[in-house]
């Protein structure tokens, strides 16, 4: 008995020290974020690093200050709250209403109905305001999953402003009249998987699983499929700070992480689609985020664009249309711009291998991670968290 007590006590001490270490790291991070926010001009590069690195932006209070900076939105000039006329003769109202009414799972489970209903009304208004002010944008089912995340973190008026910016940049391709460009972005998934794990790729191709299992992941930034809101906002920190194609790399990382499950399933469309579309809720998010960053650096969109185009029948026709659209940061536009740069890049391909090592270091710098904080450190930290929960140490209040 005593021996076991001693070992439990030792374990407790060990994790208590880890907890202290974690708390001091966390405090340091909060201070760094404050410092970046208070700098003049605001140090957006530092905020970006904080949003990507372990734990992201930590709390919703910090998020509501940092997200506007990441999107370069002026918080002194927010759109006014709309009147009831917004919903009259509105082409999108019925569909938005239908989707928002059914979005109960996006709200905290213990929230009183009355409070949730007020937020649902605000959600409808936020969406309709953005659509009305930007007639070139088309609503899609799943857009409401994105907007609700912003609404819950920053409140109605700020959410409208942030989502408007996001919709004309990161989400722009999803909001075209058709989903052709969304499909094009999904076509990047298999080449990324192939680059890392050809066996898994071939299995999925044989199963003819397609990529629709990842559609809701991509167009909702995983807001539709993750039930724990803390995981959703953590991913939003990451995606807001990164290249608009990062969500597709993150999707690939999830599939790669589930390699064994996929290879053990029956090799047919239904089995693989079913398995992959049921996303596990206990994913090691910090590790996967770091991996997605790695993959982005190792296999940048420019090196995958050719294969992605080959998967697509309509590439040539949509390519022409795309030349006419010059919106910055549209993920698909970025891809196509890189594609045009391809020949020049190929000439330099002989130095690619040499660059990969440099890239990894660059990536670590970009992502605000130190080399010392490797996979082992992640594992220890995660273990500590699980263990700590039993002692109600409340690392994540």
């Amino acid at each position: 008995g005593t021996l076991q007590d001693n070992s439990t006590l030792l374990q407790f001490k060990f994790f208590y020290i880890l907890k202290l270490d974690y708390e001091s790291k966390r405090k340091r991070k909060v201070a760094e974020i404050q410092h970046a926010l208070n700098s003049s001009p605001v140090d957006v590069a530092a905020l970006r690093r904080m949003a990507i690195s372990e734990g992201g932006l930590l709390t919703d209070e910090i998020r509501s200050k940092v997200w506007p900076k990441l999107l370069n939105v002026n918080t002194d000039d927010l759109p006014p709250k709309p009147g009831p006329e917004l919903r009259e003769n509105n082409k999108d109202y019925q569909q938005v209403l239908l989707d928002v009414q059914r979005s109960l799972r996006r709200f905290p489970p213990r929230m009183p109905d009355a409070e949730r209903e007020v937020l649902q009304e605000q959600l409808i208004d936020s969406i309709l305001v953005v659509l009305k002010r930007n007639p070139q944008l088309h609503y899609y089912q799943g857009y409401h999953d994105i907007v609700v995340t912003f609404l819950l973190v920053v409140g109605e008026r700020m959410a409208t402003a942030l989502v408007e910016k996001l919709s004309t940049h990161h989400l722009r391709d999803f909001m075209d009249p058709t989903m052709d460009n969304t499909k094009h972005i999904l076509n990047y998934l298999m080449p990324i998987i192939e680059s890392v794990n050809p066996e898994l790729h071939d299995f999925m191709q044989r199963a003819e699983v397609g990529t629709i299992f990842a559609l809701s992941w991509l167009i909702t930034w995983f807001g539709h499929v993750l039930s724990d809101f803390r995981h959703v906002v953590r991913l939003y920190d990451f995606f807001l700070a990164c290249h608009p194609l990062m969500p597709i790399y993150f999707a690939a990382v999830i599939v790669l992480y589930r390699e064994h499950q996929v290879l053990e399933s029956e090799c047919d469309m239904a089995s693989v689609h079913h398995l992959l579309s049921q996303i596990p809720q206990d994913l090691p998010y910090e590790t996967l985020i770091s991996r997605a960053g790695d993959l982005f650096v190792q296999f940048p969109p420019s090196e995958l664009s050719k294969e992605a185009i080959q998967q697509e029948n309509t590439a040539v026709s949509t390519f022409k249309d795309f030349e006419l659209v010059s919106a910055q940061q549209r993920p698909d536009a970025v891809l196509r711009r890189r594609l045009r740069e391809q020949p020049q890049r190929e000439r330099r391909s002989n130095i690619t291998a040499a660059r990969t090592g440099t890239r990894r270091l660059m990536k670590l710098a970009v992502m605000g991670l130190t080399v010392a904080l490797g996979a082992a450190a992640f594992a220890v930290a995660n273990g500590a968290l699980e263990w700590a929960a039993k002692f109600e140490l409340q690392l994540f209040p």
């Binding site: 569909q95 239908l98 989707d99 059914r102 979005s103 109960l104 799972r105 088309h138 899609y140 089912q141 799943g142 409401h144 009249p177 058709t178 989903m179 052709d180 969304t182 499909k183 044989r206 199963a207 003819e208 397609g210 629709i212 299992f213 559609l215 809701s216 167009i219 909702t220 539709h224 029956e266 090799c267 047919d268 239904a270 689609h273 079913h274 579309s277």
Partner: protein
């Protein structure tokens, strides 16, 4: 579980019936498929994004048959470039409308046309389901109107409620009717070995559905 005597020799097979469920947003496609596969009404459903998949193994005349239901997004933009992949090798189509919403009924010709474009016309079994019968007071689509439409397109009509507990058997019966119909139409069945151990075998044309357009 009594299984029918199988002839010795061939590997055990489980035949698969693939059905696609289509119709406007909010008519209850997800609830219907959930009801059939899980036997109960889901308490919170959300908009379907892309395609969801559910399945249930049933026994018909002593034979185990796997019914796969592909539940699709209702919003029009998902139809065109997204869902088409899932129309392949489909054995039956279930069209759903909401009896309390005339617009969802009026969209049916567009859905039928959509299917025809994927070579899913009158030659494969199709059924029409009017959902939300528990809301009788709010009926907008009268039975005689729906029946006339169903007759014109040579489809059987079922009016039901995925929500009403008393209709559990009914929802089940709808899908089972379709399964029986398909079972007797053997050329249309896609069959494959239960356990796919033949990974060495290279399959140049993976699982081509044996389809019959006679």
């Amino acid at each position: 579980m009594a299984s029918a005597p199988l002839p010795l020799g061939p590997p055990p097979r489980c035949r698969i019936l693939k059905m696609i469920v289509i119709g406007d947003s909010g008519v209850g496609k997800t609830c219907l498929t959930f009801r059939f596969c899980a036997g109960k009404f889901p308490n919170k459903t959300e908009a379907t994004i892309g395609v969801d998949f559910r399945e249930k193994t049933v026994e018909i005349d002593g034979e185990k048959i796997k019914i796969q239901l592909w539940d699709t997004a209702g919003q029009e933009r998902f139809r065109k470039s997204m869902v088409q992949h899932y129309y392949r090798n489909v054995h039956a189509v279930v069209f759903v409308y909401d009896i309390t919403n005339m617009a969802t009924f009026q969209s049916l010709p567009a859905w039928i046309e959509e299917c025809k474009q994927h070579s899913l016309g009158g030659e494969i079994p199709r059924i029409l389901v009017g959902n939300k019968c528990d809301l009788k007071d709010a009926t907008q689509v009268r039975t005689d109107l729906a029946q006339k439409f169903a007759d014109t397109h040579s489809m059987p009509l079922f009016e039901t409620s995925a929500k009403n507990p008393g209709d559990n058997d009914h929802v089940e019966a709808i899908f089972m009717t379709l399964a029986h119909k398909l079972k007797n139409h053997k050329p249309m069945m896609l069959s494959q070995p239960l356990l796919d151990e033949n990974k060495v075998q290279l399959d140049p044309e993976p699982s081509p559905g044996v389809e019959c357009y006679c």
